[in-house]
């Protein structure tokens, strides 16, 4: 038997008869992305993200799906040409245009600090409050404070609000924070190994405290300078005490102090210290000066705009090397959660700056969104949520939720976020190819739905099926067929309307008697997915790069 020899990206490889281009590339260590391909199943060639360019004898190149194209003698294959990249990106964009789901839940999407609210709620539901506080503190270093004063844009976005009333996210967060602070050893994140660098933070309001917290967590040494007697900035000197008891603020500041923060109080920038001195003594400076009258209180040499200090919107870097700024001195939004978010983002940017000199902002991962719901569609989301109405704290709003109340309220969550958001192959390909999620959207005029209707099939004890997320790759159909399922899954319909459903109208429960787990494992998106009663372990900082 002749072994065909071909060239892939200018490298020669000999493969066995019948091998595909994808096999041959794998042998050379050349990675080609796939979605509909699965080892052990016949190639299907539907997603087309594995296209490569094959140069024919006439010199013209054509695109072929490498998963199903046979490696042939003398073939010249290129896996990374401009045409290939464009085709892959378009294939992903087209799939995304017909992929209905929220990678990230609307509440998290609305949160300026991008806190993983659904995960916190699921931890509460399972009684794992430590996990809950860990999740909260990933994004919000002052949860007791914000659990009281945040304007809670998350609750306005909460999908449950379309049905009865939104989850009590604010009170849940407060419950988590209060329970933690009341415990013997309140949670403090494990610090990374020391970076051997020093950062000066000017201002101890929400932006400054937040930056300090994440800089310390990343291993930097931090000194916080403030003209006042006690840390907290506007939180201490602007917010009335009945809204924010000062002991809560003090307890959360203490967490930061315990992490190693050096609070240098009663030192005012301008009169007591200068920016140049700080620049000389520290490797980086973060200015969190609070709301300033334009051009008053802003150190000389810093560019300003109509709002305040002019910064790069992604990195929060000012015009001066090594000097960063955030919070209301950049733009007076007067929303603590925004300041906290900016302080965190600036901290990442500063850490990047310290590491390589090139500050890169926080990366916002690619996400798809359902957006506004269609008429009556909310009913299809209710499978997961406890139908009972919102739990109101028995002790009144100032008392917060009790443990039982918190657990009970958490059961109302609809789990809008995708169960595969961390290992969805479509999502990571969107990142990899630079696809734009909203480039292709439907609008065929009035009366024509612009997208699929959200549905869930929760009939199966192990898996949930969301047809809107299905990209018709057919992996599950082929798995069920191969395993000789009694009913199995079928492609129903044709063309754009094709759907994967249980054969002979069977539910998922009957369709997948043997292979539900395998199908969920193999599904390249979150269409068929294992139920998640307890949050699966998630690697840290999944939202960061």
């Amino acid at each position: 038997m002749i072994m065909p020899v071909l060239t892939i990206d200018d490298r020669r490889i000999e493969v066995e008869q019948g091998a595909t281009i994808l096999d041959a590339a794998a042998r050379l260590g050349i990675r080609i992305p796939t979605l509909c391909h699965r080892q052990g199943l016949e190639p299907w060639a539907s997603c087309m993200v594995c296209v490569v360019s094959v140069r024919g004898p006439d010199g013209n190149s054509r695109l072929v799906p490498s998963c199903a194209s046979r490696a042939e003698e003398g073939m010249i294959v290129e896996t990374d040409t401009e045409d290939v990249r464009r085709a892959r990106r378009l294939a992903v964009e087209l799939l995304l245009s017909d992929h209905l789901g929220d990678c990230i839940a609307p509440c998290q999407q609305a949160c300026p600090a991008r806190m993983d609210i659904p995960r916190m709620i699921r931890s509460i539901r399972s009684g794992d409050f430590t996990a809950a506080v860990e999740t909260v503190r990933e994004a919000i270093p002052l949860p007791g404070v914000l659990g009281r004063i945040c304007s809670a844009p998350c609750e306005k976005a909460c999908r449950r609000g379309r049905y009865d009333s939104p989850l009590s996210i604010l009170l849940l967060k407060r419950f988590v924070a209060d329970a933690d602070l009341a415990s013997a050893s309140p949670y403090a994140p494990p610090a990374a190994p020391s970076l051997g660098r020093k950062v000066a933070v000017v201002g101890s309001g929400p932006a400054g405290l937040s930056a300090a917290y994440y800089l310390l967590k990343a291993g930097a040494a931090v000194a916080v300078f403030d003209g006042n007697d006690l840390p907290g900035g506007m939180l201490r000197y602007g917010v009335p005490e009945d809204r924010l008891p000062r002991d809560v603020l003090a307890a959360e500041t203490d967490v930061i102090r315990r992490m190693g923060c050096d609070f240098r109080m009663r030192l005012r920038l301008g009169s007591d210290l200068s920016l140049d001195e700080l620049r000389a003594d520290y490797d980086a400076v973060f200015l969190a000066l609070g709301e300033t009258v334009p051009s008053a209180g802003i150190p000389d040499g810093l560019e300003t705009d109509e709002h305040g200090i002019r910064v790069d919107r992604k990195t929060f870097q000012t015009g001066i090397d090594g000097v960063f700024a955030g919070g209301d001195c950049v733009r007076p939004i007067r929303m603590a959660v925004h300041s906290v978010a900016q302080g965190r983002t600036a901290a990442f940017s500063i850490v990047n700056y310290l590491a390589g000199g090139c500050p890169a902002g926080r990366h916002t991962p690619f996400s798809t969104h359902i957006g506004r719901l269609l008429e009556g569609e909310i009913d299809n989301f209710l499978l997961e949520g406890d139908p009972r109405e919102r739990v109101l704290p028995a002790g009144g709003a100032s008392a917060g939720l009790s443990r039982d109340e918190a657990v009970s309220e958490s059961a109302r969550c609809l789990h809008c976020d995708c169960r595969r958001q961390d290992d969805c192959r479509l999502r990571s390909l969107a990142e990899e190819t630079g696809a734009k999620g909203r480039l292709y959207r439907y609008s065929l005029g009035e009366g024509v739905p612009e997208r699929r209707v959200f549905r869930q099939d929760a009939s199966h004890p192990d898996v949930i099926y969301e047809p809107g997320k299905c990209i018709a790759c057919g992996i599950c159909v082929r798995i069920a067929e191969k395993a000789l399922e009694r009913f199995g899954l079928a492609f129903v319909g044709r063309g754009f309307d094709v759907q994967v459903r249980g054969a002979l109208d069977r539910s998922m429960r009957d369709a997948l008697e043997k292979t539900a787990g395998e199908c969920a494992d193999a599904c390249p998106t979150g269409a068929i997915v294992l139920r998640s009663p307890v949050p699966a372990p998630r690697h840290r900082d999944s939202s960061e790069r």
Partner: protein, 783 residues
């Protein structure tokens, strides 16, 4: 699906008759639907239970093909043709009016009383009668929205009276002469059957000594019903557009009976006497044309008939006649005197290329299958003609079934196949029936079966009836369909010549390709090669439709110019309008603007111009046609017919359609043209099969030649005044309040106000143009 209880014993019978294996699945479902009118879920469950065919396969196949229904059907089915010719002549408005008239709820296809179900069909193959609709077995042509009520009434009143009968000739003995009548779908649609009945009646009443002969397509479809009268010693007379009431007069004119017996015996003696006067001839001769009439001569002269040899004079069902005319000699000579390699050499030397569209050299394909090492091989004849504006294959199968069978038999001998399939699309029930009958006669005559011509060769051919899926035209999808699976294409190679049906080497050829094979072998490769151009030898059959004076099937030598087809054969543009473009190759093809009419019919010349040879659809457009609308129409077709497997075709064509729909409704956005062009190129480059690869061609070629029209749509103008959303109808002060428009409006958009100026409710108006055509006072304005 409904939950009503059905009696499944019929399913048991059907399974016993049809088979239990997956390759019987499509015929099984067809038979079940025949029985119940749809596919009841209980029946599908029962099939799964008693056959062991996997439920997933049953669901997959039952929901893939257009033909299969999952809801009960109305008592009568109205199939509204949405083929290209019907589209340009107003099918969309017709469908909309019909649904409105029958008060069919949005999203449904059956009226509340369950009397009528409306279906959209790809093409009924009666393009010369466009727009057409078929109600049960009866085809109504040249429909307009205002004709619909009377058509439905006519149908209900005469449902029994005009049921079509296609057999039962009673021919008087003795050959005094011959009357030939075409009984193909087109002609039957046009009322030939009624003419035929009138003819038989006339002969029995007059006692004329004349043989009536049914012939295949006469290729002047828009002049039908056609009668050809052969009087011994005289040149043939051809009568066009014959009405049943004319027939007796025609018979009496040419076969005047002796004596007065016929006058006495006639039930209509008074009418007859009147007809026999000189004046009474007038209505008949008015329609008469002879073969030397310059018009018809122009239609026929530039043509060259190979696939359609003996058109109009051969009885398509008469095997003896086919044999007498040299039929099956090529097959016999090959089997008894040639080696397969010699046949392949001859086919190669002829330069024959596949007539299905892509133009792959036929000889090379045959050689590939012949060389494949396998004890079992198949030949498949691809008769899944899906181009919604073409009916070449239907005509060849209906009119020349033996020629196609002989071509297949020669191919089977050459490649070494013992079993072969003719795949015929479901919309051609008459072709299925005729080919099945022809196969049976060939078996009886020994042209098929065991030990053919005593050579030891065995061959059987069976018919596989499609179930409605354009993608089956793609060969790997076609083979999946024969195997009883969803017709989704797969990556080639391996080509079917290496691994086809059930993994065996399989030769897949188009109907027309196979139909010319016997001619090549009888007349020699050189004779074939003398026709056409160096790169494209022989002839090509086209379905000429659209805005020409004449339409129908034509067979022309390769190398003829488009201009000659449009102006000489087609007789130029009808209605004093201006020739704008031709569309060649249907939904996979492109357009050629009038300025390029000197382009010749040649695979390479056409593809250089951005069109393709295609399978033979040729639609002529005039200045009232909108190129954006045409591109949208074709894309809507291919998008709807996409199998849904690969991303580029499934979603990409939908995105393209989205943009085109926006443009046609005046909602185009800046950047739409660039996005459309970019998508078109990528869908073409990236799609898995020919359907997806060629679906963007109409868009790309209209963008190439008519970009200005696209830009006009972006600005909210349709230069041709075709795009509904971009035109408005209004009534001017010339209105005298006659209420005619209000009476005829199918959308109730005009309130009846006698003796007052009427008004059109723009929100209700469907821009069907009925008011414009019925107004006697020129009071309807279109802007």
């Amino acid at each position: 699906m409904t939950g009503e209880n059905i009696d499944v014993t019929a399913v048991e019978r059907i399974v016993a008759e049809t088979g239990r294996t997956q390759d019987a699945l499509v015929p099984l479902l067809q038979a079940v639907q025949e029985e119940y009118g749809y596919l009841p879920r209980e029946a599908l469950e029962h099939i799964a239970k008693i056959t062991g065919i996997p439920p997933a396969a049953i669901t997959g196949v039952a929901t893939f093909y257009d033909e299969f229904r999952h809801k009960p059907i109305g008592r009568h089915v109205i199939s509204v043709c949405h083929g290209t010719a019907c589209h340009v002549k107003g099918a969309p408005v017709l469908s909309e009016s019909l649904a409105g008239y029958l008060k069919i709820p949005e999203g449904e296809d059956t009226d509340p009383s369950g009397l009528f179900t409306i279906r959209k069909v790809g093409c009924l193959g009666c393009c010369s009668l466009a727009p057409v609709a078929q109600i049960d077995d009866v085809i109504y042509g040249h429909l307009t929205p205002e004709k619909l009520p009377s058509v439905l009434q006519d149908f209900l009143a005469q449902a029994d009276a005009i049921s079509v009968q296609r057999s039962g000739d009673v021919i008087p003995q003795g050959r005094a002469g011959e009357v030939r009548i075409c009984l193909d779908s087109c002609c039957v649609a046009r009322g030939t059957e009624r003419v035929h009945q009138a003819l038989l009646r006339a002969i029995s009443e007059t006692g004329a000594r004349v043989v009536v002969k049914r012939v295949g397509c006469v290729i002047v479809c828009n002049e039908t019903p056609l009668l050809e009268v052969l009087v011994p010693g005289e040149a043939p007379y051809l009568y066009a557009r014959v009405r049943p009431e004319d027939v007796k007069a025609i018979i009496l004119r040419h076969f005047r009976p002796t004596g007065v017996r016929r006058v006495i015996g006639s039930a209509v003696s008074r009418t007859l006497d009147a007809i026999l006067t000189d004046e009474a001839w007038e209505p008949v001769t008015r329609y008469s044309i002879t073969a030397r009439d310059p018009q018809v001569a122009a239609v026929l002269d530039p043509q060259k008939h190979i696939a359609t040899e003996d058109y109009g004079c051969a009885d398509p069902t008469d095997l003896q006649e086919y044999v007498a005319a040299g039929g099956f000699t090529a097959f016999e000579n090959s089997v008894t005197h040639s080696q397969p390699s010699e046949v392949i050499e001859e086919i190669m030397a002829s330069g024959l290329r596949g007539r299905g569209g892509a133009g792959f050299p036929t000889g090379r394909k045959w050689a590939g299958v012949a060389a494949a090492a396998s004890g079992v091989k198949y030949v498949v004849c691809n008769g899944d003609e899906g181009d919604p504006g073409a009916f070449m294959d239907r005509m060849l199968l209906e009119s020349f079934p033996y020629r196609v069978i002989e071509g297949m038999a020669i191919a089977a001998f050459t490649v070494g196949a013992r079993r072969s399939y003719i795949y015929i699309r479901s919309e051609y029930p008459f072709a299925v029936k005729r080919v099945r009958e022809a196969l049976e006669r060939c078996r009886s005559a020994g042209f098929l079966g065991d030990n053919i011509f005593g050579s030891g060769m065995c061959l059987d051919i069976s018919v596989m009836k499609g179930a409605g899926a354009f993608v089956c035209g793609e060969e790997t999808a076609l083979l999946a369909s024969i195997e009883g699976r969803r017709s989704t294409p797969r990556v080639r190679p391996p080509y079917p010549s290496e691994s086809g049906l059930w993994g065996r080497p399989t030769l897949v050829n188009n109907v027309e390709t196979l139909a010319v094979v016997p001619w090549i072998l009888r007349n020699g490769a050189a004779a074939f090669r003398r026709l056409g151009t160096p790169g494209s030898s022989g002839t090509k059959v086209f379905a000429l439709a659209g805005k020409t004076v004449r339409g129908g099937l034509i067979e022309v030598p390769m190398g003829i110019t488009v201009d000659k087809i449009v102006n000489d054969i087609g007789g130029g543009i009808a209605g004093g309008r201006v020739f704008k473009a031709v569309l060649i190759g249907g939904p996979s093809g492109g357009c050629l603007p009038a300025g390029l009419a000197d382009t010749v019919i040649d695979y390479d010349a056409l593809s250089e111009a951005g069109a393709i040879m295609g399978s033979g659809g040729l639609v002529v457009l005039d200045d009232s046609d909108c190129m954006v609308d045409i591109a949208r129409y074709f894309l809507e077709f291919t998008q709807n017919q996409s199998c849904g497997k690969c991303t580029f075709c499934r979603i990409g064509t939908r995105q393209m359609l989205d943009i085109l729909t926006r443009l046609c409704s005046g909602e185009g956005r800046s950047g739409d043209l660039e996005k459309l062009e970019d998508l078109a190129r990528m869908v073409s480059a990236g799609s898995l099969c020919g359907l997806g690869k060629t679906a963007p061609t109409p868009v790309l070629s209209t963008l190439r030649y008519f970009r200005g029209e696209y830009e006009a749509h972006l600005e909210g103008r349709c230069p041709a005044g075709r795009c509904k959303a971009l035109v408005t109808y209004s009534i001017t002060d010339d209105c005298i309040g006659c209420t005619r428009c209000a009476q005829h409006c199918p959308a109730d958009a005009i309130e009846m106000k006698p003796y007052e100026k009427h008004e059109i409710d723009a929100a209700r108006c469907i821009r069907c143009g009925t008011c414009l055509s019925v107004c006697a006072f020129n009071a309807v304005k279109v802007e």
